[in-house]
């Protein structure tokens, strides 16, 4: 099926390369123009460079119902989804644990397991303490609980990165280009290619809007703030020797609260946009052809989006709840639930749309390397 997707992408992009009207929108079209032959690896790289702003689709006189049926955002999103599947092998847990509802069950299951574990090791009354996390779960146990799944995901992603880079650009040594990385991280952080060349992003519909870019920023910077909150807490505890809980006006609490709220708002907004976009794709656009059911499964743009959004939303929500309820007897169970959510989310991250961030940064790095090459 990957071959068919690549072949269709090659057909469409060849028309694009003969037309070139869209080259002002993003990096995909200039990158395409540097090639007279488009190999499978090129298609994969262009697909991951595409940020799905859809400006090109709305500008395309060859979009369906034209007989050339050109729709780059659609075919490239399918190639991207295939990339995610191809470079991260199926998770080692059984299939019945992979669906969306299975993930919810997994959170409940892990919560229960942690509760039992805490009850067995610290005694059942540990769950009812609310004077700080280590009253509930010991510091080493907490570290292990969070670091193990993180290490797992990092290992899975690193393997994927190596294989992806090898297939699309060759030797890993090529990645050692600091200038390309610096630019790529700035472009990614600013979502430069989600700006439609200045006209903004045509998502969820025909009228350009900065909504998606801003909501994405809320999620991304929210997550970053939460991460910073964790680092700040570790600093206060391990370097300054101040044990938690921290006062309301401390760095961990302010960063965590702002980040958590940003993530919840961003995820909710993106969720709403994605639902509207799915409608637009079917109706107003008139441009995205019906997919055959066998081509649709988990790669359907929406489904994968929702998984990541729900996961991040739950992370933020349970995190905020631990803060809100930290002076109540619910603190222990809520903290355990938050930890379980972290465990599950960090375990499954490479298998969700989370992976898009990694491939997209790599694609921008590759594009910067290539664009800087003379000739």
């Amino acid at each position: 099926m990957m071959d068919e997707l690549i072949a269709e992408a090659q057909r469409q992009l060849r028309i694009c390369n003969s037309c070139r009207y869209c080259e002002g929108y993003c990096a995909v079209f200039p990158a395409l123009e540097r090639r007279t032959v488009l190999e499978a690896g090129d298609v994969t790289s262009l697909a991951n460079l595409c940020h799905d702003c859809r400006a090109c689709l709305y500008a395309c006189m060859y979009a369906p119902p034209h007989e050339f049926a050109v729709n780059p955002p659609e075919i490239l999103s399918r190639v991207r989804a295939a990339t995610y599947r191809a470079y991260v092998p199926p998770p080692p847990w059984p299939a019945w644990l992979r669906g969306r509802s299975a993930r919810v069950s997994a959170v409940i299951g892990v919560t229960a397991a942690l509760l039992v574990l805490v009850a067995l090791t610290e005694g059942i009354d540990a769950l009812l303490r609310h004077s700080g996390p280590y009253q509930v779960i010991s510091y080493p146990a907490l570290l292990v609980t969070v670091l193990l799944p993180s290490a797992w995901s990092v290992a899975v992603m690193l393997r994927a990165v190596a294989r992806y880079w090898n297939d699309t650009h060759g030797s890993l040594r090529g990645l050692a280009d600091l200038a390309a990385w610096r630019k790529a991280l700035i472009y990614a952080a600013r979502l430069s290619y989600l700006r439609g060349g200045g006209g903004d992003c045509y998502y969820p519909g025909a009228d350009p809007s900065p909504a998606r870019r801003r909501l994405h920023a809320a999620v991304f910077y929210g997550f970053a703030a939460c991460f910073a909150a964790t680092v700040a807490a570790a600093f206060m505890q391990d370097i300054l020797g101040i044990p938690p809980p921290y006062p309301l006006l401390s760095a961990p609490v302010i960063l965590g609260t702002a980040g958590g709220l940003g993530m919840i708002a961003g995820c909710a907004g993106l969720f709403v946009l994605a639902r509207r976009s799915d409608l637009a794709a079917g109706a107003a656009l008139g441009a995205i052809p019906e997919q055959a059911p066998e081509q649709a499964p988990e790669q359907a743009r929406g489904a994968a989006d929702y998984g990541l959004l729900i996961g991040l939303g739950l992370l933020a929500a349970t995190g905020l709840l631990t803060l809100l309820l930290r002076a109540t007897p619910a603190y222990g169970p809520v903290l355990i639930t938050h930890l379980a959510t972290i465990v599950v989310c960090f375990c499954i991250a490479p298998y969700t749309r989370f992976a898009h961030s990694v491939y997209r940064v790599l694609a921008i790095v590759a594009d910067n390397i290539e664009a800087a090459r003379p000739g």
Partner: protein, 470 residues
């Protein structure tokens, strides 16, 4: 986008200004008429998804500007545009109207920006146009979408999928339009419905059987129905019957609407032969884009309106990649066979051409270089290199008609003239339908949109002014 389809009920009071055609000229006219306080309806023949006529296929506009502005590389003054206009074909048809177009073009880019249009730097492969033309971001369909957002915001009505069959005339005034869905009442009319290039039977009147071999690059809706209706009601004609803008496109392109992707850029990099396997025109005569507009007409004059662009491995990849795969072969004879040409004749042509190349030239596709094939008829003035390195490539080409010039004669107020020398009271024209007043035979890249924008503004304003005269 919530398009209304079908004609608005004729029971309502007539629209102040009705615009036939939803391309650049029509939308500019609609916006202008609305700014003059009129109730405006745009009648678009295409369904919403295909709206915009030939404007969908455009990407740049040629306007007078003093100095570079970030999107053009230098100044382009009225004198120079005027000279360029005089340099194509047989020069402007009506110098007064052409001069007005040049003069008025200066304010067009600013007007476009004011109405939401965004710009980009010139496209790769079109650098020669970077000084004289402004390129709008995303091309013509994006332009049409932008204008439609403005149109919707201003409260201008649009009906899609509506074909105007005839006009309801009352002396020198138009009272309405006849459509399949009923009559649409109008106090003033702007005809911005394009040329007649999509009506092959009409083209056959001037071109004979050759017309059967023409491909139409733009909208299949531009069949000249409105021009014919205007003629029936006494409108005077302007422009040459055989005047059109045509380029060389891949012979395998669809009959209609293939647009920019089907054009071929290979001509100056090799040779072009006709169905007899012979060269017939200097492939290296002029730099792009001037040659671009020459080759469409060149091919119309060849037997069967077909020609073949041939090149070799040396230059493969130096020009925009064609949309369809070229034929590829290890020898010139084999390539000729694949293209259905006589291998001996083509091989002889290539041998003669190679022998005629003046030695010692330095090949440079960016300038008029000193690689020439002389002492052969026709010569190749620039970029002549021996065709001797396999694999060899070839593509069949046909004339791709962009738009016809013949239409209605107009005054400086865009008012449509009648054969008796008088004018209609409330009928105006803008865009391709009146381009024959300005263009005779040749074409200047980006000038079609200039005509549409300048005359769209004039027609929109004049229609608004005269909607309530009688």
């Amino acid at each position: 986008m919530t398009p209304s389809t079908g004609a608005p009920s004729s029971g309502a009071k007539p629209w102040d200004v009705v615009i036939i055609g939803g391309g650049n000229a029509g939308l500019v006219a609609a916006i202008t008429a609305r700014q003059h306080g009129q109730r405006v309806l745009v009648v678009e023949r295409a369904p919403a998804a295909m709206r915009g006529g030939n404007t969908r296929h455009t990407r740049n506009i040629r306007c007078v500007h003093a100095g570079a502005d970030g999107f053009t590389t230098g100044s382009y003054l009225a004198d120079e545009l005027w000279r360029d206009l005089c340099g194509v074909g047989t020069g402007p048809s009506n110098e007064r109207l052409a001069e007005l177009t040049v003069r008025e073009s200066e304010t067009v880019p600013g007007w476009m920006s004011d109405h939401g249009v965004r710009w980009q730097r010139p496209l790769a492969g079109t650098l020669q146009l970077g000084r004289t033309n402004h390129f709008f971001l995303g091309g013509g369909k994006a332009l049409v979408n932008t204008y439609h957002r403005t149109v919707a915001r201003m409260g201008i009505a649009v009906c899609y999928g509506t074909t105007v069959e005839d006009l309801v005339m009352d002396g020198d005034r138009c009272r309405g339009l006849v459509t399949a869905g009923g009559t649409i009442g109008a106090r003033a009319l702007v005809c911005a419905s394009g040329g007649f290039e999509a009506d092959l039977a009409w083209l056959r009147r001037y071109w004979g059987d050759a017309a059967d071999n023409f491909l139409i690059r733009g909208s299949p809706d531009n069949d000249g129905r409105v021009i014919a209706a205007l003629y029936r009601h006494g409108a005077a004609s302007a422009g040459e019957e055989r005047g059109f803008h045509a380029v060389a496109i891949d012979a395998r392109s669809p009959r209609f609407d293939g647009g920019i992707a089907t054009r071929l850029d290979s001509v100056p990099f090799g040779i072009v032969v006709n169905s007899g396997g012979r060269r017939f025109y200097d492939e290296g005569e002029e730099i792009w884009p001037k040659r671009y507009a020459i080759w469409g007409r060149n091919i119309t004059e060849q037997p069967g309106q077909i020609a073949y662009s041939l090149w070799d491995a040396k230059v493969q990849g130096l020009f925009l990649p064609p949309m369809y795969d070229p034929a590829e072969a290890g020898s010139v004879g084999e390539l000729a066979g694949m293209l259905g040409l006589d291998p001996t004749a083509v091989a002889q042509t290539v041998t003669d051409f190679n022998a005629a190349i003046r030695p010692g030239g330095t090949f440079d596709p960016a300038v008029l270089d000193d690689c020439a094939a002389t002492g052969i008829s026709p010569p190749k003035s620039h970029w002549a290199q021996p065709i001797d390195t396999p694999p060899y490539y070839g593509v069949p080409m046909r004339p791709g008609i962009t738009f016809t010039y013949m239409g209605t004669a107009v005054t400086e107020q865009a008012r449509v003239l009648r054969t008796d020398g008088t004018t209609f009271g409330n009928v105006f024209a803008a865009g391709e339908i009146m381009s024959g007043n300005i263009l005779s035979t040749g074409y200047l890249a980006g000038f079609g949109l200039t005509i549409g924008s300048v005359w769209g503004r004039i027609a929109g304003a004049e229609a608004a002014r005269h909607a309530h005269d009688g």
